[in-house]
């Protein structure tokens, strides 16, 4: 039998080799995973997080990739459910062989996925706030861009004291951060002279919280701290209004979404305070996220995922090797220190290739991390609901 390769095809193949090598397309891709809450309680954020991760990956690949290799991003849906998140992590680690997983949302999901990551030397970049996450024995394989519960709750309590709260009652969904969050809030509030500090932890999968609200109102609070996700916040706002509560209400911005405010009459939601870690508004990286999503005020989690992908690419670029261990060893070398400040990962990769040191400043903040993996500082956005929309009070 003679040759089965036509001469023209063989010639075309031979001519293509230098081109493929130059563009990096011939090199094996670097597998990267994202586990985002495309559905479930975090469904308001997951799709935009995934969009940002995909857009940035495409841009990096278009500029030649990392170490001449394209990034192959695989986005999985956590359904905001730890069991599903673990299945997704197994698939990404065991099948795709990813070097890192980015964008895990909800502390329960991150906590469930974390052991799989550190056991397989896969870096995990999360947007979850529970203090317990970075206290896990992760050996440096967790980086989080979300301020931890201690930092968030302390700032929240200062805000409530500033607004004159004297008697505060907490209604908290059962989450890994519920107890830490309330304890820190209570500590700062008590230090500021507040009293009547009680709390109830509820099961967020219920369809009514009348009994819990009854118990909360028995304590005669002037302020309710609603430590909730969006679906249960909607029910709590409705039922506290029905129960005749006229005091102040305070919650997290990820729960007080525009959709929740629109789902209820303005009379029910007006005056609801909420807060969130503020992205690095005005920074070039923040502008890039604005451009990708086509909105003026991208959510903090999409900004954080932009930083996750950037940090992965830059750490690999610095190490010269694409692996979880390489990211682990190099992520702080490109995110903090005396190197040249960069906000664009493509520009950062060029600087690294020319042997320069860099300090990445991201869309979510300065991206400087403690040895445990927590961010060192960030700003917070405080807002109030007015006529079914959130209005910014201040950023500090």
């Amino acid at each position: 039998m003679g040759s089965t390769i036509p001469r023209r095809a063989a010639l075309a193949g031979a001519l293509a080799v230098p081109f493929l090598a130059r563009t990096g397309l011939a090199a094996a891709p670097i597998p990267l995973g994202a586990i985002n809450p495309l559905t479930g309680a975090g469904g308001a954020y997951g799709p935009s997080m995934a969009k940002v991760a995909k857009a940035l990956t495409t841009r990096i690949n278009g500029a030649g990739g990392v170490l001449g290799r394209p990034i192959a991003l695989d986005v999985e849906d956590s359904e905001t459910n730890p069991t599903v998140a673990v299945e997704a992590a197994h698939k990404l680690i065991d099948v795709n062989k990813v070097v890192a997983i980015v964008g895990t949302w909800a502390s329960a999901c991150t906590t469930a996925v974390a052991p799989l990551c550190w056991q397989s030397h896969t870096m995990l970049f999360c947007v979850s706030g529970a203090d317990s996450i970075t206290k896990l024995p992760h050996h440096g394989y967790i980086i989080r861009t979300q301020p931890n519960t201690h930092l968030q709750s302390g700032r929240a309590a200062e805000f409530l004291l500033q607004k004159g709260a004297k008697r505060v009652f907490g209604l908290s969904a059962q989450t890994p951060f519920a107890v830490d969050s309330w304890n820190r809030l209570k500590e700062v509030l008590a230090g500021g002279g507040a009293s009547g500090l009680g709390d109830i932890i509820y099961d967020p999968k219920q369809i009514s919280f009348r009994s819990e609200i009854g118990k909360a109102l028995d304590a005669k609070p002037d302020t309710l701290f609603l430590n909730s996700y969006a679906p249960d916040l909607e029910i709590l706002l409705r039922e506290t209004y029905q129960a005749g509560f006229n005091g102040k209400r305070f919650t997290f911005a990820y729960a007080a979404t525009d959709a929740v405010l629109k789902a209820l009459p303005a009379s029910v939601t007006n005056g609801l305070w909420s807060f969130a870690p503020s992205p690095n508004v005005g920074s070039p990286a923040y502008g890039a996220v604005q451009a990708i999503l086509g909105v003026n005020d991208p959510d903090p989690y999409s900004c954080q995922v932009y930083d996750h992908v950037s940090l992965v690419a830059l750490a690999i670029g610095k190490a010269g090797v694409a692996s979880g261990l390489a990211i682990h060893d190099n992520v702080r070398k490109i995110s903090q220190g005396a190197g040249e400040k960069v906000s664009d990962p493509v520009a950062g990769l060029r600087l690294l290739a020319s042997g320069k040191e860099i300090n990445y400043e991201g869309a979510s903040g300065p991206c400087d991390f403690t040895p445990l993996g927590d961010i060192i500082s960030c700003k917070f956005l405080f807002q109030v609901a007015e006529n079914q929309r959130n209005k910014t009070l201040f950023i500090s």
Partner: protein, 288 residues
């Protein structure tokens, strides 16, 4: 303490009345087709969204929107059963039940594809509670319970006095005998699915009126529906009613002695106790 007890009792009764409708639907389908159809969770959500379209998009009042919820959820339930589950039923109840779980996920994601993840709100005002002798009663919840009672009464009248109701009872009692008497089991299956899932659709909309409407609205009450059906007696229509009130009131009363976090466990506890002490449920399997 007495006030707290009475308040929990009222809250539980109102929750039980709303829960009773999907539980009745679940048992209606089980009685005729002899398998637990877990797609009821998403079909309740289908009803809730259909009612939302009628109310928020076309500005229909709540009562007429409930009719839309019934018709759309009933039609979706009957059609999805015919397309996805009919061929599985001869392979056994377990196979059909597992198929219904898959169908539930499919429907849930179809809803998500069509309406997105964000919660939706009905175009209805929210009222402050009435205070009756120190007990708070929500006007919306009271109206929901009233509407649920009307729907339940209509189901009982259908089953007791109409020809199709009698054929459904005949198939539920002894399917081979009913078929030998000329009753078409396929037609009865269509009707049972339409009525059962229609009730679930009304229940789904009533739950959404009280809480929030999103693709997981029905899923959140699935355990309570199943608990009510098992406690009352799988396949029993009055049993579903009794089971819904037992579960609804039991869950609320438990908060007087247990932290609210454990409230959902009451549903599991009720199933465990009933299956251990009275496996056929409070009112037996086929009581009407």
């Amino acid at each position: 303490m007495i006030d707290a007890f009475l308040q929990a009792l009222v809250n539980g009764a109102l929750a039980g009345a709303v829960l009773a409708l999907p539980a009745l639907g679940f048992n209606t389908v089980y009685a005729v087709l002899r398998f637990p159809n877990f797609a009821i969770a998403s079909l309740a959500t289908v009803g809730a969204y259909a009612g939302w379209v009628a109310n928020a998009v076309f500005a229909w009042p709540a009562a007429s929107s409930l009719v839309v919820a019934f018709v759309v959820a009933g039609a979706a339930g009957a059609a999805s059963d015919a397309l996805a589950l009919r061929k599985l039923r001869p392979l056994g109840a377990i196979t059909a039940a597992i198929g219904s779980v898959a169908l539930d996920l499919l429907l849930q994601n179809a809803i998500r594809f069509g309406f997105g993840n964000n919660p939706r709100g009905y175009d209805l005002p929210v009222f402050r509670n009435w205070q009756v002798a120190g007990i708070g009663i929500g006007p919306q919840e009271a109206e929901d319970a009233g509407l649920a009672l009307v729907a339940m009464a209509a189901l009982f009248l259908l089953l007791r006095f109409t020809r199709i109701g009698k054929t459904m009872r005949a198939v539920a009692d002894n399917a081979p005998l009913a078929e030998s008497k000329g009753i078409d089991p396929v037609r009865v299956a269509w009707v049972a699915n339409f009525v059962g899932f229609g009730l679930a659709g009304i229940g789904g909309m009533l739950v959404a009126l009280d809480t929030s409407l999103d693709p997981l609205t029905g899923f959140r009450v699935l355990l309570s529906i199943f608990a009510a059906a098992v406690v009352g007696g799988l396949g029993s229509i009055p049993g579903a009613l009794a089971g819904a009130f037992v579960v609804g009131i039991g869950e609320e009363l438990s908060t007087l002695v247990l932290a609210p976090t454990y409230r959902t466990a009451i549903g599991f506890l009720a199933i465990l106790l009933v299956l251990s002490l009275r496996p056929r449920g409070l009112l037996g399997e086929r009581a009407y």
